[in-house]
Symmetry: C2
Amino acid sequence: MRFSKLYAPTLKDAPADAEVVSHKLLVRAGMIRKLTSGIYTYLPMGLRSLEKVKTIVREEMERAGAQEIFMPTVQPADLWKETGRWDFYGKELLRFEDRHGRGYCLGPTHEEVVTDLLRGEVRSYRQLPLNVYQIQTKFRDEIRPRFGLMRGREFMMKDGYSFDRDDAGADESYHAMYEAYKRIFTRLGVKFRPVEADSGSIGGSFSHEFMVLADTGEDTIAVCQSCDYAANVEKAEVKGDFAPCTESCAAMEEVATPDKHTVEEVAEFLGVPLSAIVKTLLFNVDGEPVAALVRGDRELNEIKLKNYLNADEEPELASPEQVQEWTGAPVGFAGPVGLKQVKRIIADSELMAANDYVAGANKADTHVLHLDLARDANVEAFIDLRMITDADPCPHCGGALELPKGIEVGHVFKLGTKYSKSMNATFLDENGREQVMIMGCYGIGVSRVVASCIEQNHDDDGICFPPPVAPYDATVLCLDPRKEDILGKAEEIEKMMEGWGMSVLLDDRQERPGIKFKDADLIGLPMQVVVGGKGLKNGIVEVKDRRTGEKTELSLENLETELKDFYQKVLDGWKAARD
Amino acid sequence: MRFSKLYAPTLKDAPADAEVVSHKLLVRAGMIRKLTSGIYTYLPMGLRSLEKVKTIVREEMERAGAQEIFMPTVQPADLWKETGRWDFYGKELLRFEDRHGRGYCLGPTHEEVVTDLLRGEVRSYRQLPLNVYQIQTKFRDEIRPRFGLMRGREFMMKDGYSFDRDDAGADESYHAMYEAYKRIFTRLGVKFRPVEADSGSIGGSFSHEFMVLADTGEDTIAVCQSCDYAANVEKAEVKGDFAPCTESCAAMEEVATPDKHTVEEVAEFLGVPLSAIVKTLLFNVDGEPVAALVRGDRELNEIKLKNYLNADEEPELASPEQVQEWTGAPVGFAGPVGLKQVKRIIADSELMAANDYVAGANKADTHVLHLDLARDANVEAFIDLRMITDADPCPHCGGALELPKGIEVGHVFKLGTKYSKSMNATFLDENGREQVMIMGCYGIGVSRVVASCIEQNHDDDGICFPPPVAPYDATVLCLDPRKEDILGKAEEIEKMMEGWGMSVLLDDRQERPGIKFKDADLIGLPMQVVVGGKGLKNGIVEVKDRRTGEKTELSLENLETELKDFYQKVLDGWKAARD
C-alpha cells in the first residue's frame, strides 16, 4: 500500500479529551476519529487492526465448534420484559420507539435475542449442544464515555452463546470456550491472564475474565506467585485465621473527636493505628439501608456485599442527607452501635479477630472507644467483605500474591438457566420430558482488544503493535520518492516482502525524512526498512525493530536473506517478550 | 461441513407473512429468521452467502482505489440539521435521545457523517481525490416492512463516498465506481442491467441504478432492443412527434355522465376511446394544489412531475375531501377547465398533439366534450409527464423498447455539492482559493443482493444459488451415514473436493434419503453428489446440476476427473445462462 494513497491522517497533537495512551495514539496515528461522545469512526488502518482481531477470533471460534450467525442491532422491548432486564438494565440500555410507537432498544448484548431464536427451533435433545456467535456493533449508553476505544458507547464485540442439555454439557461448552479464548489471546500476541471473575449483572453461576496486563488497566487482579490462582480483586476471596477474639475489653465509652471525619484524622487524633478503627459504610441496597463494616486500613469490596445480600442492583453509597437521617450525625461519625434505622449490619470477618475498637458514635464530633462488636453491636454476619491486598495469602495455596493491573478484554460466563427459564427455552430429553436448556455466554471486546494492545505496547514515540494486530507487517520508508532509483528500490523491497506473504506500507509521500521517521514510530508497525540515497550508494538499507528500537544495516547484495532473518528476529522477540 | 453439526433448520412450510419467493425460501432453507417486523437474524448459511457478497464487493472496491472505513451506526442529530435532512427525511429516519437528552438517529445512510469526517481532515487539493466506503448494518423505519430481505428495516449495505476537486474529477470517480459495480454484479453471477435513474431524495446531478432482472422485481426498466439505452421507467424520457395540433374543434359543451367516475367508465359510456379522454390528477405538492394531465390511456410519472416542480417531497394525491373542495365535485369529475383553486396545471406533451378531448367538468356527474386544451384550459406547461410504454420509441435511437422487471441492488449518484456546500466541506486549490468538494455516493444493498439472486434463480423445489453466492459450492448426500463404508466414501469425496478449493456441505444426518434430496433442492447448492449403497455396489455415484436438474452417473474408478468435469460444466452452464 502506498502511504500517499492511504487515508491515514497522522497528527502531531492528541485531542484535548484523550486521557489514556491508546486513545491519544489511535487518533494521532490516523486510525480513529471521534464522531461524538463515545462514538468513533475507524479509518483504514484502524479497521485493518480490527479486522485482524476479528479473523483470529473467528478462526478459533470455528475451531472450537461455534457457528457464526448475525443477529439484529435493534431489539424489541418485549423480549427484555420477558427476562425482566427491561426494568433492571438501567440507563445504559438505550431505548426508543419506532414510527408505530413500539418499544425497542439498541442491543448491548444478545441473551434475549439468541434465546428467543433457539426456543423457536430446538425441540429435541438431539439438536443440542449448540454454540453460536456473532461479531457485531453494540451500544451501551455509558454515562461518561471516555478512554477512546477502551470504553466507548458504540463498540465492536464478539458475543457467543452455548446451549446444552445438562450441567455437564454446559461445563464442557464453557471449557471449550475458555480454551479457545486462551488460544485467541495467545495468537493476538499480548500478555494476558484468565482470572476468576464475578458474574456481574449478566448473572449466572461462574465466570472468568481475560485480562490484558497493562499498568493503565482499570481492573486489578490478584495473581499467586506459587500456584496458578488468578482472580479479579472484585472476586478474590480473603482467607485468614479469623477466629473470634476471646479476650474481653473495657466497657464502651464515648470520646469527643471534634471535626475528625476520616479514619485517618480519627487515628491521628486518638493516637491509635488505622487497624484499631471500625469503618462503617452506609448503603442503599435495593432501597434498604445497610451498614458494612471493615477495618480502618481496609477497603470494602462492594461486589462481596452485593452478592451476600443477593441484591439486584449495585449498592449505592448513602447520601449525606441519608447518613444524617439514619445515624443522627453528619458523615464521618457513623458506627455500628445504636443504629436504629439500619436493620442490617454486615462486618468483615477480620473484625472478629480482635476487639477494643474505635468507631463512630452516631453523634456529631463523637466516637466510641473499647468497642467489642460481638458484645456491643448487632452484627448480622461476619463474612469476607473486603478487598484483598498483596499482604494477604493466596486463597488456594497460601502463597504470596501480586496485584497487577489489567484490562478486561474477554469474559466467559456459565449462565445456567437464568435466561432459558424465564424465556421458556426448553427441549424434550431422551425420555420425552421437557427440560430447560443450560446456557453459557462468551464475549470479547474486539475494539477494546485493539486499544489494550496499545496500552500494553507503546513508548514515548508511539505505538509498538504486536505483529498479529498491526495494520501492516512492515513499512518501507522511501526517503526521496522523487528520485526514480530510490523509489524503484523501495518498491522492489516492498514487492519482495509481499511475495513472502507480508503486508507492507510504502511511505512514498513527498515529506521530509524526519516526518516519515516520526510517523513510522507513531504508527508502530513492527519493522521499518529505510531506503535512502546515501545508503543505496553504500550498498545498504537500514532496518529497525520498532519494539526494541534496534537498528541494523543490511547489505543490498544479500538483502533477501538478511531481511528475512531480521524480520524473523523481530517476530521471535515479540514471542519471547510475551511468554 | 457436516450438516449434522450445522445450525440450518429447514422447514416444510413458509411463514404465513412471506409474500415473495426469496423470503419464503430463505426462511425454509434455514438461512434467516425473523426477530420482529422487518428485522432478521442471519443463520450460518445465510451469513455465508452474505459474506461471499461482501468479499466480492470489497475486492472490487479496493481494486477501484476505494478505501474501507467503518463509521458509526448512531449519528448525532446536529449533523442532519446542518444539511436540513433532519426535517426532510421523514419517519424512515429513526430518531431517539440518549440518557442526556441529546438527539440521535440510526444511520440509514452516511452522507452527513462522512462529510463531517473529511471536512475535518482535508485541507488541500493535494489530499484529493478520496474515495472511502464501508459495509454496515443500516436502519430505515419502513412503514410496511415486507418481502424479507428485499425490504427490511435493518439491512446490510455497502455505502461509499467520493470527494473530488472538480467536476471532471468527480465524473472520473463516478465512472470508476460504475465500472466497479459492473464487475461486482458480473462476478456475482446474476443477470443485471445498469440503468439511468432518478436521483431521488439523496439528491444530486445524475445517477445509475443496477438492476437484477427478475419477474418479481418492483421496478420496471425500459431497455432498447437496438442501442444500449436502459433506464428506470421513472426516469425514461418519452420522445415523440408532439407538434401542437393545428385543427380546431367544436365549442366545448357539457354532457351528463351519471356515476361514471373512472376513465374506463366514461369512455364506455360515451363510446370514445381512452385516448380521447384527458385524465386530471390532483396533488398536494409541498402544500400547494397541482393538477397533472395525461391521456386517458396513459399513466402519470410522478417523478417527472416532482422534478418539473422542483419539489422537496413526493407529490401526494389529493384526498377526496380536497378534490371536493378544489373542484366542487366528487372524485372522478375533475377537469382542467375552471379549476379556480388550482393555479398550476401541468400537461403531458402528448396531449398537445390533438384536441376534441373529453374531460371532467368539475361538476358532479358531468364531463365536457370538445375540449381544446390550448383554447379552453390554462395549462402552465406541456412537458414529458407520463410513464413510458413498450409502444414508445427508444429516446436515444428510436428503436423498439422492452420493459422487463428488475430489483434495484446498487445505485451510484453524482451528488455534486449538495452536502459539501451545506456542511462547508472545503479545501484550498492550487491557487490557495477555497473550493467546495464535489461528492459522489455509491450504494449496494448487500443483503438485498442475496435475496435478488434467489428471486432470479429458483424453481418449485427451492433455491438455485448462483455459484459465487452459494453458501457452499456443493453438497454430498450420504444416504446411509450409519454404514461406515458409505459415510467413508462420502467423506472421501468431500475431502477431494475441498482439496480443489471447493466448500462442501456433507449431509450426514440420520434422515431418510427423501428428506435429504428435498433439503438439497431447497437449499440449492449448485452441485449435488449422491453417495448411496446401491450406487457404490455398482461402482457409481450420481451427480446433479441443481440449476438444470441434469443428473449423471459417474464411475468411482474415474471419479476425480469425471467429477471435476461435471462441476466445470455446472459453472459453465451458469456463465452461459447469465451472458
